[in-house]
Amino acid sequence: MSDQHPQGHGHGGTAHPHGAPLSDVQLRVKALESLLTEKGLVDPAALDELIETYESRVGPRNGARVVARAWVDPEFKRRLLADATEAIAGMGYIGRQGEDMVVLENTPRVHNLVVCTLCSCYPWPVLGLPPVWYKSAPYRSRAVIDPRGVLREFGLELPEEVEVRVWDSTAELRYLVLPERPPGTEGMSEEELAALITRDAMIGTAKVQPPARARREARG
């Protein structure tokens, strides 16, 4: 790869142990971490722990378990819609960027879509860290003015009679979409249901596909 791009992608920089030059941003981060460590201001072990948390432990599987439970347990669903923070905390998903949760229910007549036009607010405890597209200028600019066009790009064409509700996360409330349970899932266990539920369905850029189609898409 580096043979085809002998100039590298950065702005020059010093030699990297593996041969490719370090980009400007790589150098800045390395220098910053060294400087802060040297001053005793950060503990490298704490950095590793923070990274490990969001890379391995927190992610959209958490949200999928919340949604699956809401599909099989009407009492839980009632509590989830009434006080999402408490209901989700009851499953152990609490904390940073999810201190105050709101759950939005999709129905055959209402489709909810979540965005943060001003930065990239996202419900970390249930969805993990946001994907690049969620943080990108195209999504942040267009979700509010052209939600149906954005959904079309995600392969979701909504009938005109469906009401689209876009939720701009401008404050400290964090939104999770409760997608519709697809047909053909009767009798499936909570765990089997959770496996069908995608991150995008909980942001509102997709629907949850029936099992046969979900399997096809997973195979690619």
């Binding site: 220098a31 060294s34 503990d43 590793d48 036009t117 001003l118 942040r140 509010v144 509700r165 400290e172």
Partner: protein, 221 residues
């Protein structure tokens, strides 16, 4: 501030590009920039509002060219200098330094503290007994404000009429908090705007945009 970060409703950025099987981080420096931001934030010298404002102050052409964690890095460097942790000269040296065995300061985040830091359930919500100015169902208009500092009032709703959908309770007011001028506790509401009120007759007559807005951003309509 009327910054380029306030992207809602802008044209010209092209289609939303997605990546299949996207990893949480795309490079080691992204991991480190993310973790450094959280670890230095744990010192408690700045608020989340100040952190957001630090990223918003990135020059517009750089902001648009930068990736998400480059903005975080820029914001973190800015905050570290402004709060006296580092000097600009130290940052500009940019040389990779060997790690030394200097003891970790008592205020630094330790690995054992991480679960408590991330599990903290209180952030911006307050218990102050502040009366709400509005109730669900009230018609409101977003004020036409253009503060030069941090604000969470997006340009696309300013001067537009909506309806209070629900009262979320009392929260820190970001405009004052980001400037170090206090929490100014007040209610935040989800305000429902008709897409046509925001975007004109081309928009769908059914669609709505819900925006979380503080009392100080609203007037009765």
């Amino acid at each position: 501030m009327n910054g380029v970060h306030d992207l809602g409703g802008m044209h010209g950025f092209g289609p939303v590009e997605r990546e299949a099987d996207e990893p949480v981080f795309h490079a080691e420096w992204e991991r480190r920039a993310f973790a450094l931001t959280l670890a230095m934030g744990a010192w408690g010298r700045w608020s989340l509002d100040m952190a957001r404002h630090s990223r918003e102050r990135m020059p517009p052409h750089e902001y648009l060219a930068a990736g998400y964690y480059e903005r975080w890095l820029w914001g973190l460097e800015t905050l570290l200098v402004e709060h006296g942790f580092l000097s600009r000269e130290e940052l500009d040296r940019r040389a990779e330094r060997p790690r030394t065995a200097r003891p970790i300061e008592p205020g630094a985040l330790r690995a054992a503290d991480v679960p408590r830091l991330l599990g903290n359930r209180r952030a911006a919500r307050l218990d102050d007994p502040v009366a709400p100015r509005f109730r669900a169902g009230d018609r409101v208009v977003a004020r036409n404000l253009h503060p030069a500092g941090h604000t969470r009032l997006p340009r696309y709703v300013r001067g537009r009429q909506g309806v209070v959908d629900r009262d979320h309770g009392v929260f820190i007011f970001p405009d004052t908090h980001a400037a170090g001028l206090g929490r100014k506790p007040q209610h935040v509401y989800s305000v429902r705007f008709a897409a046509r009120e925001l975007w004109g007759p081309e928009a769908s007559p059914r669609d709505r945009v819900y925006v979380d807005l503080w009392d100080d951003y609203l007037d009765p309509a």
